[in-house]
Symmetry: D2
Subunit: 434 residues, 4 copies
């Protein structure tokens, strides 16, 4: 046991009446929602990076947090792992996620970095034997080190491509060894700072090659996890190629990978791309590529990614509604790609950021499930399109052509009268489940 | 001759020294740029709607313009056509563009609307016999009338789908009859106001069916014009399906239409989608779907589409650079989807809005051509990726896999050193052509 | 009785368990909150313009609503008034608000417009004798007619200034006659479309003169209502002078009007200005100029004013918390400057838009009151600044100077250690009241 | 001489025909513009922080630059100063600007930090004896160290207020000693991350006290430099108090400091606040508080401060036009608060970023001067308001009241006819000077 969380108890469910800050009021892992345990619906994951590697910096200021494990070397990395698993235990977290750089010291060479990672993975594996916490996904940090400044797979320098491929293999190996459920690629440097020095065609081909190699390696290893791309439109790059769900889908189609790769959708990234979170989820569901979510919000007044814990039940409810409509998570889950604010210095803040978020998600899930089970919203939606089920209309959609349809409009004097979209009534309905 | 432009002379090229407001200082149609006449490069088009149908309204105010052709009925429509062709003549405009609703009165029935359009098309055809102005593209207005409030092709009501298909056929017929070079679809109502009442899957299938019918009709008619989609992310709808170039590309790929349809890209729409204009152009060029452009800017401080005439040479230059790199326009051109401000009440304003824009475009084109012919920018770009042409690297891109690449990184101790992206030097270079 | 709402019952409170769409589940006018009737806290007002004058248009489409009172002439205006007061009655609305243009036909001359208004005001006065609904505020529409296209008080044309002043007098007279509680000025055209033709100094002086005349007229008439400015940063103008609360405050100070005028703050306008609604409210409270609110939201993905009914309890709660902290409304209230979506065609939509909003506000008010009464949030806030109450620190704030403070820092070796801002804990606390 | 810039020559003016990257093509210090040397108009300053202290980091990546002076200790600080003055010499920079933290190592105590600063100031003073480069402004970094995470003057902890005051005194002393022309305050942490833990009233009073002490100290020291506030709406804080020019003006008026303090306006900050740069400049000019400028642009597609060197002549021209209209700089100047991109690794990039920017500014200044001297724009502006100069209208503005004006409108039948705002014509005019 480290000292870091020494005065903080394990968090348990005490119900809505509890005034205990260190308790769940809404997240009850065992409670059944639509016949499934809440824990199995939500599949919460703690992000190793924000929780243990983030030092409190921002573009105008440095480290604010004071953590005993900050610093170089394997000993610090081991202490960090100890604290991490203590927190997983305090939170009863079913999952965690990590990048290689979060968990191991950077080596002087690729070989050393690889060995460092392997050593930590062994430690994780041992800890996981006595922990309930599993790995939701692993990923490679291909954006922090200066070698990646102009991209990883899309770098103009083939050596960076090679270095990135080698790193991804290490991280996939780690994910497979730890029985991870998914492997994620986030392309923060796959994009450009200026079009003036960029060849879009080359870089797209490079990105596709890298992704194809990832898919091939998955199959070669006989691993049944899911490969996920996490879209984000910008930041750190001025423009990023995996802009949003629709863009990623077009990329997958272009290179024939649409049945091999799904998306990990983050609320904050949806917002930066000019969408609502529920839009991105609904679109991915419609396209059959909804994989997993990063349930962290942006501040609506900030033009950058703030990665805050969710705190709006009504927004979270709409998100889980789309997840439930898509059939719920299979390999995916609810990762908190969230960091406490840089002024939240205390160990309690780190715990309570997660506790509040888990409770918000539980409330949102229950409201979403109630709305789906009640069926009124889906009935209203279906009713709106009901005329398309009439044989003549289904036939028009199947076999119509402009000329014959125009003939019919002329002959029948079709002059459609609009009908109310009933937005306010539906919004009232949604609020009735909250 | 109408009285409207009675004191305004035909605009001719007088060169940069001229102080005549009513002259081109930079746009010289006959001047050769990269061996092609400037007029044939730029292929300017006047938008009928903004120039003759827009009344000066905005969301908080009504008509400000006082035009003798405003009002109902065919006589007004004929006067509008007279004025339009007078303006085309004053500007020596090589092209114009129109929606059905811009040019003909709405009928009480579809049949009447169709007849009205046909009558106007006959008038246009006659005028075009003695005019140099040709049709760049036609299109259907499927967004103004209340019947389209919930979409045209994507409407929940199949009768609206049918009415839209019939309307598109009329407009394609008009375009073909007038020897238009392209036919455009802009989906301002193809999207949603609220996800709560929307079925994304159904609506995508409906949109694809409509587009397929358009493509089929083109082929059936043996017409060799180009079908273009104009992307826009939002406005009027909260979310529009043709969000940006990448989204449209994904849609085309999803339904196998990527070889049949290109894009008409507008600067203002690029901005609303979070992109630069040159990004959208470069991406479309890279994807092989760059068709035509709407060269009108947004105000960077306004969160809606302002459709202003272009006035920044440096921005326009970067746009034409991408057009030239993609081989220049074939069927496409430079449409001004621009309106004078609602306070610009005078006939002179309408003329001078176009004159200024044409001069800005001419300056931009010449600078872009100089930059392309000089070759320094393309050399710098190519040099940045030069290592990919080495056989070992080309081979890696062709046949590499993660495991063998990792082996090579380990064996060779690959540890890439980053190189400068030289952004400021390239920006200085660009400015040297202005 | 008109036929318009003929099948819609009066809305009454039925409590949270009710499944009746046409009932309040949370808004119970008589319920005491912090010792005051809920109705007296919230002071709801219906906006005449959005409810009865808005035709469903947007920048790309025309009228969608089909209302028997649309059209010209006093008879239509009377029918509109009948329907309006029927709706006030259905909703038990304590207040309404109007512009002159909403309620009377525009005359051919100022004199005729004035007479039309006076006639309608007489009708209103008569209706109000048998209605519970009072006037929250009146205002002049100085933005729709083309004469105001370049501003009203800030117009370059002194005749428009005069016309505007005359109009404001009419509207103040109407407000006073109807015992309105406030008079509002919203400057949608007080700003500019381009700096190139604008004289900021002149226009500020003109605006100040107009406002001073309004204040003088209030005093001259012995009226005890409140003069309110409604800030908005842009739209319709590219830049508006009453950008946000801080800007309005600076303007009032510049011209010595800060004790005469307060602000009417709208959520959507706060968002457009880059603020949260609660920021604008808290700032106005801190500056002593919080007057009234327009409780309508913007869509976070739309860059323009969407004027939608509120539907987020958590946002509304934070707004009322600032109102309650500032002592609650005195002359002000909660106006819904909201319109149903243009696809919401039915009379039911108009009623239910208001019902849902009133319920959301009631939930928000109760949560805000609970939080304020509980006191935990205010205790945490006070505790954070507690060291400033120590005499030495209070003295430093009162009489300190740089040199003596530096001496003390050197002498005492002051080296402050930061303390947690506890944001996540406070956010969890806030959510516990919802 | 250090080795850093060893192959880079001094930059001299070679004229527009030069193809030498390392020459000015437009910035000719001696050239007269409106009768004043270009150097004396522009008063360029190099920012010490971006040029020498920025390491290439961003929120997702660390140091990319490889500079021999990076690291701790006074020796590194001395080497940094050597390189800095070498660059000033290469660029013939008339001015530089610095924060304490840019130039000296942070000490373990305030006393040590103070001594370190004094030692560096002595070095600077010595270097300046043989350099043409003077100090445009000094400032204190009150945002990077964790002690300032919750504000400096506005901190809830009085000890941080004291520490900040002590630091400001040190920096003012340094500025005075080096004969700086101005002293700047930028409040990156003077704002809040969450309203929930913030007391706006207290924090405003604290900020005003700090500013008052700065003004008092200036007078006490008999220093005739200018105190400047640099507005910025957000970043790093979610909300910053010095939001924009209008907000700063209101703050100054509130505390009676409007005659003591001016503003330093940055293009990027104007953009983040929803304004154009020229708006902020024109407004400050109108309010009499235009002090100095930070001439660095934001990327229009990035929602954060990118601090890039200017590269648009047309934008820069509009900025200098406002500066010239306000009478030009007195103590202020043109600071480049700009950093080369993190991929611009080479010493050449650092030099050429400045060279390009200086040339862009020179082109903009010359175009602005031509436009001002020509007078057509100002004539058009004046003509638009000319009717206000008529005695009756001047009288109305001076002594009018609502009632008498309404009488006149009725009597005279005033019914104003709008006139064209001529925006496109004016935009064409502006472009004719480029
Ligand atoms: Co994120
Ligand atoms: Co994420
Ligand atoms: Co547009
Ligand atoms: Co367009
Ligand atoms: Co509004
Ligand atoms: Co309002
Ligand atoms: Co900046
Ligand atoms: Co700055």
């Amino acid at each position: 046991m480290t000292e870091f969380f020494k005065d903080i108890p394990q968090i348990t469910y005490e119900g809505p009446g509890s005034e205990n800050e260190f308790a769940f009021k809404h997240y009850n892992p065992e409670e059944l929602v639509m016949g499934k345990r809440m824990e199995d619906h939500l599949r919460f994951a703690v992000a190793y990076w924000h929780s243990f590697a983030y030092e409190g910096g921002d573009p105008f200021g440095g480290r604010t947090f004071d953590r005993p494990w900050f610093g170089e070397g394997m000993e610090k990395a081991r202490m960090k792992a100890d604290v991490a698993f203590e927190m997983f235990d305090i939170l009863q977290a079913p999952f965690f996620c990590f990048h290689d750089l979060d968990v191991r010291p950077e080596g002087a060479t690729f070989a050393e970095s690889k060995r460092n990672l392997e050593e930590i993975v062994d430690i994780f594996a041992e800890k996981m034997e006595s922990s309930k916490t599993r790995l939701l996904w692993g990923t490679a940090n291909l954006f922090t080190h200066r070698r990646f400044m102009a991209g990883s797979g899309t770098n103009p320098d083939p050596d960076v491509f090679a270095y990135s491929a080698a790193t991804i293999k290490s991280c996939m190996d780690a994910t497979i060894k730890l029985n991870g459920a998914n492997y994620v690629l986030w392309g923060g440097r796959e994009g450009y700072e200026t079009l003036l020095n960029t060849d879009l065609t080359r870089e797209a081909d490079q990105a596709a090659k890298m992704l194809s190699m990832v898919v091939d390696y998955k199959h070669k290893m006989g691993w049944d996890g899911t490969i996920l791309i996490e879209p984000k439109p910008q930041e750190p790059s001025k423009h990023q190629y995996d802009f949003d769900v629709a863009t990623v889908y077009g990329f997958l189609k272009r290179y024939g990978l649409e049945n091999e790769v799904k998306v990990n959708i983050e609320q904050g990234h949806a917002i930066l791309a000019g969408h609502s979170f529920e839009h991105e989820l609904a679109l991915a569901g419609s396209l059959g590529i909804l994989g997993s979510i990063d349930m962290n919000r942006n501040d609506y007044q900030s033009g950058w990614d703030t990665d805050q814990f969710p705190n709006s039940v009504s927004e979270v409810m709409l998100a889980y509604y789309e997840v439930l409509k898509a059939g719920g998570f299979s390999s995916g889950g609810t990762n908190f790609d969230a960091r406490i604010r840089r002024q939240s210095l205390d160990p309690e803040d780190l715990i309570l950021g997660h506790v509040g978020a888990m409770d918000i998600c539980a409330r949102g899930l229950k409201a979403a499930a109630a709305m789906l089970e009640d069926g009124k919203l889906e009935s209203a939606r279906a009713e709106r399109y009901a005329d398309w089920d009439k044989p003549a209309n289904a036939e028009m959609l199947e076999n119509g052509d402009l000329a014959s349809i125009q003939d019919r409009v002329l002959t029948e004097g079709i002059n459609p009268e609009p009908r109310s979209g009933r937005q306010e009534r539906l919004e009232n309905l949604v609020n009735s489940y909250l």
